[in-house]
Symmetry: C2
Subunit: 158 residues, 2 copies
DNA sequence: CGCCATTTATTCAAAATTCAACTTAATTGG
DNA sequence: CCAATTAAGTTGAATTTTGAATAAATGGCG
């Protein structure tokens, strides 16, 4: 089955899988977002807390954090400003490179992370992980890892 | 492995799969968005064109379209206004329910759809479908369908 | 050394999204 | 039949995101 300019359409099976993937992506995002609302965090907030929590000294350069969370520098800059206002992080100068800044987790940010993480993990289980069989989990990883690799490589160029 | 309040952490394997899924979701969205840029369409625009194209008479009630594309009514309303300004769709009154409106694909919208779809499908192949084996495809569908079902059911309450 | 391209990060304005309030029409329950 | 409730959709203001422009510091390299 070909389109006029030579592209192959998706088979029914392919289309079904594609749409399922898309639907899961979106609904899952919304659901996790909702599960964080009681803690006054967006998913974005949470993701930054995770990254900083896992980082050495609970701090990361803005650029690295932007890369890690797949956001533009501009967006991250605004995001950190908001989180700074909320008391979750603070900015700190980098001595070795005076252009640079660190985003640093505050005590309150760290406390928040410890308090919220268990609930978030429970939500990830409830809405995703625990719905997969052991085989399903492995199959998913094996199917998606090459896609991730491709996208990582493609990212930034055309 | 348990958190203090009884939630089970993710195993390494679970965590890896979860993060891979998340990464693929996001990078894929960005990539497809980029592939649509040359046609002056956002992914949102495209999705609406798809829905209307597949609908009877190339038209859909606003509510149904909002549901189908997983957006709020407000967001859809703004979105359709923009697309109306771009000449892709028009609004039309519904006679049987005078509160209601149809979003209708214009000729230009339909032409646009026919022109763009092959490129989009090619992108979906390049960045997703063609990176999966036949087994991978099936495994993905089987793993994700229950998740989709759960999230659909959970949506709106929960 | 001195110049220029690059890297880091912010800022401003424009576009998109959300959120709550509102309008109008249809339904429902006495 | 009417009042109250629900449903469809829009609106406008506030928030968030994007994208281009800017500023400051670094790194090469001739």
């Amino acid at each position: 089955m070909e389109t006029e300019n030579g592209a192959r359409w998706l088979s029914d099976e392919e289309q079904r899988t594609w749409r399922t993937h898309l639907e899961v992506s979106r609904l899952l995002t919304y659901q996790l977002e909702r599960d964080l609302q009681p803690f006054d965090l967006t998913y974005n907030d949470y993701e930054i807390l995770v990254n900083l929590s896992e980082a050495e000294d609970h701090q990361m350069r803005m650029s690295d954090l932007a890369r890690a969370t797949l956001q533009s520098k501009s967006r991250l800059s605004h995001q950190i400003t908001r989180m700074e206002n909320a008391g979750l992080v603070r900015r700190e100068n980098c001595e070795s490179d005076r252009r640079g800044l660190f985003a640093v987790l505050t005590d309150f940010g760290w406390e928040t992370m410890k308090r919220v993480a268990p609930h978030h993990v429970a939500a990830v289980r409830e809405h995703f992980i625990d719905l997969l069989s052991a085989d399903g989990l492995m199959a998913l990883q094996e199917a998606l890892e090459p896609v991730a690799k491709h996208l990582r490589a493609t990212r930034g160029r055309g």
